[in-house]
Symmetry: C2
DNA sequence: CCGATTTTGTTCTCACGTTCACAAGCTCCT
DNA sequence: AGGAGCTTGTGAACGTGAGAACAAAATCGG
């Protein structure tokens, strides 16, 4: 998963592909900000404008953009359309990526109907589930198909990205079969740590983890002084049966 | 938002509250791993075991845990139940946090039915929307209520966490009204950068951004040498009308 | 044509996060 | 009781990321 190209210390010689991961994660934000500006009819924007729209500071934004090349004009700013195209190309959304969604429960439904998915850059080619009761059901303009067909679908449509919205239980097996079929990028919504072979990228979205991070800060804000101190022995006040904090989002 | 306590260089004097943000983000993962181990009937686990279950390396895990205190036993490992309680307490999920969900579209529905939400630590007290057609609809065992009642609901149930699953358009106004009503932590699924006053924590979950990050790496894997180089002038090959890459998840 | 003004691209420094490596401390066996 | 064998907790080295600050480059007005 480490994509770090071996590079001896020295001037980071631009054009030598190797954009910091933190920057890659912000490029989509810039892309969206540029789209918004473009929709407002704005043709040129300074790093300050863009940074405000993207919610970062301008120094960071300029440094991020500098990894892509010199697409701005000093004293003027950035051409919105031009920069937008450059970022889209760098990310790879100037082409369409075929996506399958596995696990058509509540969240799978929501994603299938999610208009943002269908916009340029990504194309859902199949909704898959193993539940016979679900197979054949229409969701939007698609029909739920049998997960058993995954091999054929991946090969036929050159699918490279898989989205897992199953419960935690079957997630690893689904993942393994996706990888076996040829999928090389996975977006996982199931609340488990999936293991994949090297060369396969995986990202995780986890609602309960996000909530828990908020809870941590919330506790700091309110209770600052009212924190119960360490009970000397595991008193486990009714907490021993704490049910899987953070369950699945899947069906 | 910076919670960094001013601290001159020196021994980081444990118990002086101040856990690194990166560590906080991993605590929920450890909590889940511990729950899984506990469910398997395992009473004691080494940092190696835990690290494997959580998908991190053991040195990082030990360092993370050391910020909480010394809850392990050298030569033995960690008591699963005890450590689980300590982490749960540190995060703040030994108490219940009242949560409202605003925007009952596809994703709002999915979250409302999401069992992981209802587990200990969080309690959904209201589903809100501004659309009169939705108000009154039953979702699970709850009824969709009018967003106009937000003030009362927040005060009555001491709501501190709000989840925004509206489209991008109304998200900022919803956010402002949540904050005005007294909500101090927000989880935002709308594809916009929300601005909040200091003292309010905000986290963002964005599906299309995650997909785009995957696409970036995917492009590296496949095309390595086949990348179209910078077109000298903004040729904009049919991309000038690229529609908001990354739309809303909300209804 | 030149200087004032604006804004980018980049360098430098500092803070944060990760990993290594090992001393401290616990248990168990003899 | 004492030593062998593990495993934790942490100090130190290293790498990555963020932000300040500034030189380079473009436009514009006179």
């Amino acid at each position: 998963m480490t994509r770090a190209s071996s590079r001896r210390p020295g001037p980071p010689t631009r054009t030598e592909r190797g954009i910091p991961e933190a920057t890659v994660a912000r490029l989509p934000v810039y892309l969206r900000a540029l789209t918004a500006l473009s929709d407002s009819g704005i043709a040129t924007a300074s790093s300050e404008d863009l940074a405000t729209a993207a919610g970062v500071n301008s120094a960071k934004l300029r440094k991020d953009l500098s990894y892509l090349g010199s697409y701005g004009t000093r004293g003027v700013g950035y051409d919105v359309e031009y920069l937008r195209y450059q970022i889209a190309r760098e990310i790879g959304v100037t082409q369409d990526w075929a996506v399958v969604i596995v696990g058509i429960g509540n969240l799978g439904h929501a994603l299938a109907n999610y208009s943002g998915f269908g916009t340029r850059g990504f194309r859902i080619v199949a909704l898959l589930d193993a539940d016979p009761n679900l197979i054949g059901e229409r969701v939007g303009d698609m029909e739920v198909r049998d997960f058993a067909q995954i091999e054929d679908i991946v090969k036929a449509d050159r699918v490279s990205i898989g989205v897992i919205t199953t419960p935690a239980g079957p997630a690893q097996e689904v993942c393994d079969r996706l990888v076996a079929a040829g999928v090389t990028s996975i977006l996982n919504f199931a609340p488990v740590v999936l293991s994949v072979p090297a060369g396969v990228d995986i990202r995780k979205v986890d609602l309960s983890i996000e909530l828990q991070i908020l809870a941590y800060h919330e506790q700091r804000k309110s209770g600052e002084a009212a924190l119960p101190e360490v009970p000397e022995l595991p008193a486990m006040n009714g907490l021993t049966d704490l049910p899987s904090v953070g369950g699945g989002v899947g069906a």
